[in-house]
């Protein structure tokens, strides 16, 4: 099953990668990432005055011997990273050659595998007009096959409702972490409010805007009736050079708006075409954007 998403060679290469977070890890679970929180790690961080009730194990007895005052030794907490991968499985994703949904599953599988290999917490959630299925949170390579199976088993949902999905995600997710959102962002209600929920929860947001080549440069001709695959909506268009130019302009403005919205809120935006081989996306583009290393 896993072979349909990532082959063995790529998996070996992905094992050497780590998920990067620009923010300190913020999981309650002890992990391998340094946390800003003081706690029971190995690295010394600071001293503070002893107050009644503090764990006597962390008293610095040597200092007490010299100064006759009680000081408590503080250590840097070591926590793991929560990585949430949100995959849009709405009908609009089941489009294009190569198929956007398949591509999204591959990307999610790769990132999930990298996450699990890095002993970070991985949660994969599919959504359409609502959150549909959840994998995790899991960590450790051993959970990879289950993750792949989960992704493979994902079916196409009906519509997209980013706002409803991301609101319920934000409300239902504790702690902070990295959110990788893979979607085409075709939502008639827009993306702004939906993304605001993510940014409001202080998530580190990484957006992969996935479009097929047919959407980036449509090759439609003549008088056609365009039927929306999600809504029972159609639009009559007489194709012409001018019409296609107008479409491209419209697409540019859509992508540009999304990009500006995300960047302005500290997120990272990556527009990619399914024409780009997916290993290149992970090894090259995502690495360059600082998602993996």
């Amino acid at each position: 099953m896993a072979a349909t998403l990532i082959d063995a060679d790529l998996m070996r290469r992905f094992e050497q990668l780590h998920m990067l977070s620009r923010k300190m890890a913020a999981s309650r679970i002890k992990g391998e990432r340094r946390s800003r929180r003081r706690g029971s790690g190995n690295d010394f961080a600071d001293y503070r005055n002893y107050v009644s009730g503090d764990d006597l194990r962390f008293l610095d007895w040597k200092v007490y011997a010299r100064l006759e005052r009680l000081f408590l030794k503080l250590f840097l907490e070591e926590e793991n990273l929560n990585v949430h991968i949100l995959v849009d499985v709405s009908r609009s994703m089941d489009y294009g050659e190569p198929n956007k949904l398949h591509y999204a599953k591959q990307a999610a599988a790769a990132l999930g595998y990298i996450t699990m290999c890095g002993m970070d917490n991985l949660t994969v959630r599919a959504f359409g007009d609502k959150l549909l299925g959840t994998f995790g949170p899991k960590r450790g390579k051993a959970n990879a096959p289950a993750c792949f199976d989960f992704l493979n088993a994902l079916e196409v949902a009906e519509e997209t409702s980013l706002e409803r999905t991301l609101r319920s995600f934000s409300v239902g997710t504790r702690g902070k972490g990295l959110v990788v959102l893979i979607s085409d962002f075709y939502d008639k209600d827009g993306y702004e409010q939906a993304l605001r929920y993510l940014f409001g929860r202080q998530f580190e947001v990484f957006v992969i805007h996935l479009l097929s080549p047919e959407e980036l440069a449509p090759e439609l001709q003549g008088d056609v009736r365009l039927v929306d695959c999600e809504m029972a909506d159609s639009t009559d268009v007489s194709m012409g050079r001018g019409v296609l130019e107008l479409y491209k302009r419209s697409l540019d403005s859509f992508c540009g708006g999304l990009r500006r919205f995300i960047l302005a809120r500290g997120g990272i935006y990556l527009l990619t075409s399914t024409a780009l081989p997916f290993d290149k996306l992970v090894l090259d583009l995502l690495a360059r954007r600082g998602l993996v290393r």
């Binding site: 085409d184 008088d223 009736r225 365009l226 929306d228 159609s234 009559d236 419209s250």
Partner: protein, 614 residues
């Protein structure tokens, strides 16, 4: 641009259904897209303009409409008139007759307009073309033989003179026909007002292109002027003037009669459209004189507002009766009062004296001669080639007489009873004035410009002397001899005729109405002739022997005076269709339109299949 089949434009009604069908046929193929989100924005942008946006954007529909339009236009067969491209030889016949002198409302004469037309035609002549110019009135002359040289052609056009001659186009056509052999594909064009009679069967090998010059114009014309001396009084000159209004409105003016340039009479005349009017003037004139009638009226043609006639001096009438004296005969002339009668027996006849007399009457003489004057033979026959006599016929019945002949004027022979008459065969050229079933009874022939009237039977052995027709016959003979004399004098003629002068008077010159002097041409027979009577008016003939006489040339041609143009005159029984000569090439555009439509059809095919621009 004009259309040959304008009703084909009715097919334009197909266009609205085509547009309708176009909208109906738009069963758009459905294309599933992930989202119409972006497309809707695009469509909104497009729909900002108008519902015709779709039309504007649809190259296919536009092409189809254009193709349909072109096909319909091609069916309507549009054509444009392009300036003449001769591409071959052309013979142009240009009318120089009197009617071409009519002034059009523009102030230019018809000939002037024809020349302008000709010049514009010449301007279009290329080095591949050849043009020949033939001027015609009642005769035809080559003004310029085939050439492409525009300068020569323009010079020839400049040299075309207005004549006052009548029109006869047959000669011009025959000339063109003979010249056509040297340029077999030559076109034949006629520039004329169409005032010419049908020239009859021509068997022209080429189509005639006729360009009508001029418009219908009003004209009051002098159609005839006859002068004669009164039979009662030889000094009294009677002038008969006929006028005709050829216009469509009534016209009026002063008619003035001049005798030797002195105003004799003036009358105000007014004529309804199409009417004729005759006026008689009288004057006493003992000598020869010159009568001019002038019509003071403002009309289009000046040439027919003047007429001239030469009045010859009165001829003293004298007859010599040779043979037995006869009471009836002498009484006939005595009763007339103005005829000198000289009766003498046969043996006293002297040939030299006879020339002084108007006529010699041979009364039953056994061996009559042919005197050098007019001769009347009563019951006898001169020795004349071709004149044969036969046996006597008893009581020949009167079968027929030629009552159109001047000699038989006012005569009824039906009561004539003849006792006997020999059979008579007249010589060639002779004319039977009275005939029985078997023979001519009275004949008329001529020898050396003199008339010979032969009465075969003995009139005094018939009841003729007792009939009123007898004196009338003899007087008619004298009048006829006078007319013949006037004709021989050649004093009044129509323009275009020739003026002759006998050889015995020596070399002669002609003084034209405009004062110029031209020598007359000597003919092969020795006489002198002048054929250039192109202008109206009085010509002077002066001979080497010092004799001079005057000749009046008149138009008197109703065809020329009738200034209504003939839009489609007849030639060989077929109507000529008027064309615009210098711009008569109708270039049909159908082929071009079809070619363009075909090209567009191909383009539509390409667009339909490849959608290059869609």
């Amino acid at each position: 641009m004009n259309l040959l089949n304008p009703w084909m434009l009715g097919f334009l009604a197909i266009i609205p259904p085509l547009i309708l069908l176009y909208f109906l046929k738009l069963k758009r193929p459905q294309v599933v897209v992930p989202s119409t989100l972006l497309w809707r924005k695009v469509v909104e942008d497009l729909r900002v303009n108008s519902p015709f946006q779709r039309l504007r954007r649809s190259l296919l529909l536009l092409l189809q409409l254009l193709i349909l339009l072109l096909f319909i236009l091609a069916l309507a067969r549009p054509f444009i008139k392009t300036d003449a491209i001769l591409k071959k030889s052309m013979i142009v016949l240009i009318d120089t007759s009197a009617s071409m002198g009519a002034l059009e409302p523009s102030g230019k004469s018809r000939l002037h307009l024809a020349k302008e037309e000709l010049r514009s035609l010449i301007d279009n002549v290329t080095s591949e073309d050849q043009l020949m110019l033939i001027g015609f009135s009642d005769n035809a002359t080559i003004l310029q033989s085939f050439t492409s040289n525009k300068r020569q052609l323009h010079d020839a056009v400049d040299a075309i003179d207005q004549t006052q001659r009548p029109t006869s186009i047959r000669g011009a056509f025959m000339l063109a026909k003979s010249l056509q052999r040297s340029a077999p594909n030559a076109r034949l064009a006629v520039l004329s007002d169409g005032a010419f009679p049908d020239p009859g069967l021509l068997e022209l090998p080429m189509q005639i292109e006729y360009q009508m010059i001029g418009n219908d114009l009003p004209n009051l014309a002098i159609t005839s002027l006859d002068i004669r001396r009164s039979l009662r009084d030889r000094l009294l000159v009677e002038m008969f003037v006929s006028l005709q209004n050829f216009g469509t409105e009534s016209m009026a003016g002063n008619m003035q009669v001049f005798l030797d340039d002195v105003l004799l009479d003036s009358k105000f005349v007014s004529l309804e459209a199409g009417k004729t009017l005759s006026q008689i003037f009288e004057a006493r004139l003992a000598e020869s004189g010159e009568v001019r009638v002038h019509l003071d009226v403002e009309d289009a043609l000046a040439a027919d507002n003047d007429a001239w006639q030469i009045v010859l001096p009165p001829q003293e009438r004298s007859v010599m009766i040779v043979g037995k004296r006869n009471y009836f005969l002498e009484r006939v002339f005595e009763a007339a009062g103005n005829v000198v009668v000289d009766s003498r027996p046969r043996e006293d006849f002297v040939a030299e004296d006879a020339a002084e007399y108007t006529a010699v009457i041979w009364n039953r003489v056994a061996d009559p001669e042919i005197a050098k004057t007019n001769n009347i033979y009563l019951g006898c026959f001169p020795e004349l080639d071709g004149l044969q006599t036969g046996e006597l016929v008893q009581s020949p019945s009167i079968m027929d007489w030629d009552n159109s002949h001047p000699v038989n004027r006012f005569i009824d022979f039906s009561n004539l009873l003849i006792q006997e008459s020999p059979l008579m065969m007249l010589p060639k050229g002779g004319q039977a004035l009275l005939s029985s079933p078997t023979s001519a009874l009275i004949g008329l022939t001529s020898v050396d410009m003199h008339s010979l009237c032969i009465v075969a039977f003995n009139p005094f052995a018939s009841n003729w002397p007792l009939l009123v027709s007898f004196p009338i016959f003899l007087h008619n003979c004298l009048n006829y001899f006078d007319e013949q004399y006037a004709q021989a004098e050649n004093a009044n003629l129509l323009v275009g005729r020739t003026i002759t002068s006998p050889a015995e008077f020596g070399a002669a010159t002609i003084r034209l109405p405009n004062g110029a002097t031209v020598p007359m041409q000597q003919t092969g027979e020795g006489g002198y002739v002048f054929a250039g009577v192109n202008q109206l008016g009085i010509y002077g003939v002066e001979t080497g022997s010092g004799l001079s006489r005057k000749v009046a040339a008149n138009l008197f041609d109703t065809q020329e005076s009738r200034l209504g143009v003939q839009p489609d005159p007849q030639v060989s029984g077929e109507q000529l269709k008027a064309v615009q000569l210098s711009r008569q090439v109708n270039t049909e555009l159908s082929t071009v339109l079809l070619a363009v439509a075909l090209g567009l059809l191909l383009l539509e095919w390409v667009v339909f299949h490849r959608r290059l621009f869609v």
